[in-house]
């Protein structure tokens, strides 16, 4: 057994902190983008306009059957080609995450919207509200409240997923940890430390979700 040196973590802390900030920032932007696009997809699926609903459903099912890494590769290759200039791995990764997570958020929201009792929609119609007014004032506020815990859980999963930007060498927490691990030759210490940091953040998040659930249940 080689002797372990955890001091290497201390000296590379500023570098790792930059990586962690990038991970959190990417998670934050992807959650916002994913929820916005996911809501649009859900509305399209439930709109009752057949071509729109079919396209949205096709998109969600396509994205949900391919691995995230493949989607990251797709956009790493595609975005510069479409724009005609290099954009850097951050933006192509962000686009990949938003488009990927939107499909999952859309599934969560569809379940949330369908959990709102049918009578609510009829009541809205009978008071003379239009489709968008019913969505905006009656269905979505209630649906959002029901699905907040699941949305946060998906956010935690998304934070874990951001570690996959490692495959395009974007310097998030995972990539910086691995750079330190290799250059310092301290693989065990660094990967155990990375696991610990991810665990603390995600576990804290899941405890918060559990509290939220308990409070909503009462």
């Amino acid at each position: 057994m080689t002797d372990f040196d955890f001091g290497v973590i201390w000296t590379s802390l500023p570098f790792l902190w930059e990586g962690l900030q990038l991970s959190l920032w990417l998670t934050f932007l992807a959650v916002i983008g994913g929820i916005v696009l996911g809501t649009l997809l859900t509305l399209a699926r439930l709109s009752g306009i057949l071509p729109l609903a079919l396209i949205a459903a096709g998109y969600v099912n396509l994205i949900r059957s391919v691995p995230l890494i493949l989607v990251i590769f797709w956009f790493y290759f595609l975005v510069p080609l479409v724009l005609g200039r290099p954009v850097g791995s951050f933006y192509s990764a962000l686009i990949a995450f938003v488009l990927f997570e939107a499909a999952y958020y859309s599934e969560i929201m569809r379940a949330g919207i369908q959990s709102v009792a049918k009578g609510q929609k009829f009541a809205g119609q009978s008071t003379g509200l239009g489709y968008w007014q019913i969505q905006r004032h009656i269905i979505l506020p209630q649906a959002f409240r029901n699905m907040i815990p699941i949305l946060v859980t998906q956010g935690i999963i998304l934070f874990q997923d951001t570690s996959l930007v490692f495959v395009v060498s974007l310097r998030d927490f995972m990539t910086t940890s691995s750079i330190v691990a290799r250059t310092e030759g301290r693989l065990v210490e660094m990967y155990v430390f990375a696991a610990l940091v991810y665990f603390v953040i995600c576990f804290t998040g899941s405890v918060l979700v559990k509290r939220m659930r308990d409070r909503m249940a009462t």
């Binding site: 057994m1 080689t2 396509l62 949900r64 059957s65 391919v66 691995p67 995230l68 890494i69 493949l70 590769f73 797709w74 290759f77 595609l78 080609l81 479409v82 005609g84 874990q160 997923d161 570690s163 996959l164 490692f166 495959v167 995972m174 691995s178 691990a181 693989l187 065990v188 990967y191 155990v192 990375a194 696991a195 991810y198 665990f199 995600c202 576990f203 899941s206």
Partner: protein, 222 residues
């Protein structure tokens, strides 16, 4: 957008062989990992619902530990850190003599991670069985093992088939993470073809279509 299409690269040698071998490794890793994940996951999921506080606590720790660390970190821990932390002779064996190290490590990491997710589904299924049924079994003089065998498991395992199907599909998708430790599965092969031929569109489309077909077949089969 200027792009010269050339779908024929996909059927040219050696790229067709690369795709086929990538497909083979994706399927192998996913299926072997699923068998372990399902077995371990069922045991841990049942364990969490047992009246024995020690077993239930240990199983809860397992689930929380493996669910809250990204699969990529787990993959690296098993591949890079584990051989260093083992006693010297074992570590040397793992590094030098273990057959198919990437495959074995990917299966270990993927099984243990997926098991924690399977365990959650199994636990939710068992807890969804109305309390009166277990109480009735107890009143009949059934022991804990008999209650699980005849009442709780037959009901709950039937209930968890739909979420289990989606976990089964997730194993195929997550097997792509094995590329980070050098296993040339489907995603890695398509990326490699893209790099060699500059035909990213064609290569990634091929991989996407194969993953969609796997998902369709798996959904129909379950």
């Amino acid at each position: 957008m200027n792009y010269n299409w050339n779908w024929s690269v996909l059927v040219t040698e050696p790229y067709l062989d690369w795709l086929i071998s990538g497909f083979y490794w994706t399927i192998s890793v996913a299926l072997v990992a699923w068998i372990f994940a399902f077995s371990i996951g069922c045991l841990v999921g049942i364990g969490r619902t047992l009246p024995n506080k020690f077993i239930a606590g240990a199983c809860t720790c397992y689930v929380e530990l493996f669910r809250n660390v990204p699969l990529l970190v787990q993959m690296f821990l098993w591949y890079f850190a584990m051989p260093e932390a083992l006693p010297e002779e074992w570590g040397r064996w793992v590094k030098r003599d273990m057959p198919n190290p990437e495959f074995v490590t990917a299966v270990i990491a993927l099984s243990l991670y997926t098991a924690s997710r399977v365990a959650e589904q199994v636990r939710a299924g068992i807890e969804a069985v109305p309390k009166g049924l277990a109480a009735a079994a107890k009143a009949h003089g059934h022991g804990v093992a008999q209650t699980y065998r005849y009442i709780l498991l037959p009901i709950s395992l039937r209930m968890v088939v739909p979420p289990m199907t989606s976990e089964f599909l997730t194993v195929f998708k997550n097997s792509s993470l094995a590329l980070t430790i050098g296993l040339l599965e489907l995603t890695a092969q398509s990326q490699q073809i893209a790099e060699y031929t500059f035909r990213g569109f064609e290569a990634f489309t091929a991989a996407t279509v194969i993953y969609v077909l796997i998902a369709l077949v798996a959904t129909v089969a379950m």
